[in-house]
């Protein structure tokens, strides 16, 4: 965060947003604005200078801005995005998946100072990794020693305990697909779950369907998860969704070597490549 206060960052965000709009190349800047509740902000699209002055920066700016870039995959003008570390990893993920073109984005990076969001405690990359302009001094990256402790503890439970736990969780699920719609790794044009004719799954929300959806989701995003925690944050029923995804990430790390998504490297999703020397348990 360097030496900027929250207010200073907010001022810089407004300033940079106005600058971006002034170039005429950027149609709007996506950030956050206040709501009627002091502890909630909402995603906000500033099109004018006056609207730029409504952009805010505080510890409640928790919604990811990155996914909004997918609303218009073929924009006529650039889209400006205020991005924190997690947002920029999300953007990297989408750029790598050919979902966005870098030239369509104007990225205002902000070194994140942590939010009122439990997932931020384990954040390893508070610095934006991709940006056009950066606000704040990059801070030292941290390693989250506890990245998989919860998963490890859960693995130790008995099969029935595990099942019981998840069954109760999935009983709560209401099939709202907020986890999917918020996830930066979910970028299908039409989700498999919406293809009722093919019959991947039914539309009814019952435990089995929810389990199938939950596990399928893990498989679909597991090797692309940037660990932003949006899925869990948006879940209206408070399902511990990250606990599933992290299991896959942990196994990937254990089996195929260190793996983290959304970094600006050229690694491919784990399920899209192989090594001859991968462990083999199926002999």
């Amino acid at each position: 965060m360097g030496n900027l206060t929250k207010e200073q960052i907010q001022d810089r965000i407004r300033e940079e947003a106005k600058k971006a709009l002034a170039t005429g190349e950027v149609s709007c800047v996506v950030g956050w604005t206040k709501t009627r509740f002091p502890d909630k902000t909402k995603p906000f699209f500033a099109y004018t200078d006056a609207e730029c002055d409504l952009l805010v920066w505080n510890e409640y700016c928790i919604n990811s801005t990155a996914k909004y870039a997918l609303d218009d995959r073929y924009p006529e003008q650039k889209i400006g995005l205020i991005t924190r570390g997690c947002d920029s990893r999300a953007l990297n993920r989408m750029l790598k998946d050919n979902q966005l073109k870098r030239e369509n984005l104007y990225i205002i990076g902000v070194v994140c100072d942590g939010k009122e969001n439990p997932v931020c405690d384990g954040c390893q990359h508070k610095n934006p990794l991709t940006y056009d302009v950066l606000i704040g001094e990059p801070v030292e990256e941290t390693i989250n020693e506890k990245r998989f402790t919860e998963v490890e503890a859960f693995e130790k439970l008995s099969a029935d305990e595990k099942y019981e736990y998840w069954a109760k969780q999935y009983d709560k699920c209401i099939h709202c697909y907020a986890c999917r719609n918020a996830c930066p790794a979910c970028n299908c044009v039409e989700c498999y779950a919406d293809q009722y004719r093919v019959g991947w799954q039914g539309k009814a929300a019952d435990r089995e369907q929810n389990q199938v959806y939950g596990l399928t989701r893990v498989f679909h995003v597991g090797d692309r998860c940037i660990e932003c925690g949006e899925c869990e944050r948006v879940c209206p029923m408070h399902l511990p969704i990250m606990r599933q995804t992290k299991k896959m990430l942990k196994d990937i790390n254990d089996l195929f070597g260190n793996y983290e998504c959304g970094l600006p490297d050229d690694s491919k999703p784990v399920l899209g490549e192989y090594k001859l020397e991968d462990p083999d348990e199926f002999m």
Partner: protein
């Protein structure tokens, strides 16, 4: 065939077998009149890499008691590299299922070549016995028949 829980219970085990190795191996087992339990049913796929993990979830959801995925040995894939992806996919799958309370024995993968008829038979015998010992899969299976009578709720 909705009778699932009485004493004569036989598990339903699905085996996804690649056309070039394991399906051939299963045919060879037939040619050699090897005997194995009836409860394993083979679904033929071109390559083990065709098997989408969602098929396995679906099988459990629809009441399968066990699922096997079989293909060529790594390096012998008819399509050169398919089974390397299979290997990654299903190692993760097995662990994820276990994490959700499903015994890893219920989902297994095995490399069985076209000439390994005996291995096919032995695998089927072993998996069948293991799943029989585990009993019916209740954890993922939908309760279609249970709910069917008496309308809703």
């Amino acid at each position: 065939m909705s009778v699932k829980k009485d004493s004569s219970w036989e598990p339903v085990i699905l085996a996804f077998c690649c056309n070039w190795c394991t399906y051939t191996g299963a045919d060879t087992a037939g040619l050699n009149r090897m005997k194995y339990p009836e409860n394993v049913r083979v679904i033929r796929v071109p390559c083990s890499s065709r098997v989408n993990p969602q098929f396995i979830l679906r099988a459990f959801q629809k009441g399968a008691d066990g699922v096997l995925v079989c293909g060529c040995h790594p390096g012998d894939c008819h399509y050169a590299t398919g089974n390397y992806y299979t290997r990654r996919r299903f190692m993760l799958m097995q662990r994820l299922l276990e994490y959700n309370g499903i015994d890893p024995k219920r989902f297994q993968a095995k490399w069985i070549s076209g000439s390994e008829a005996a291995k096919f038979r032995d695998t089927v015998i072993k998996v069948s016995a293991e799943i029989k010992a585990l009993g019916p899969n209740t954890k993922f299976a939908e309760g279609y028949y249970a709910q069917n009578e008496g309308g809703n709720e």
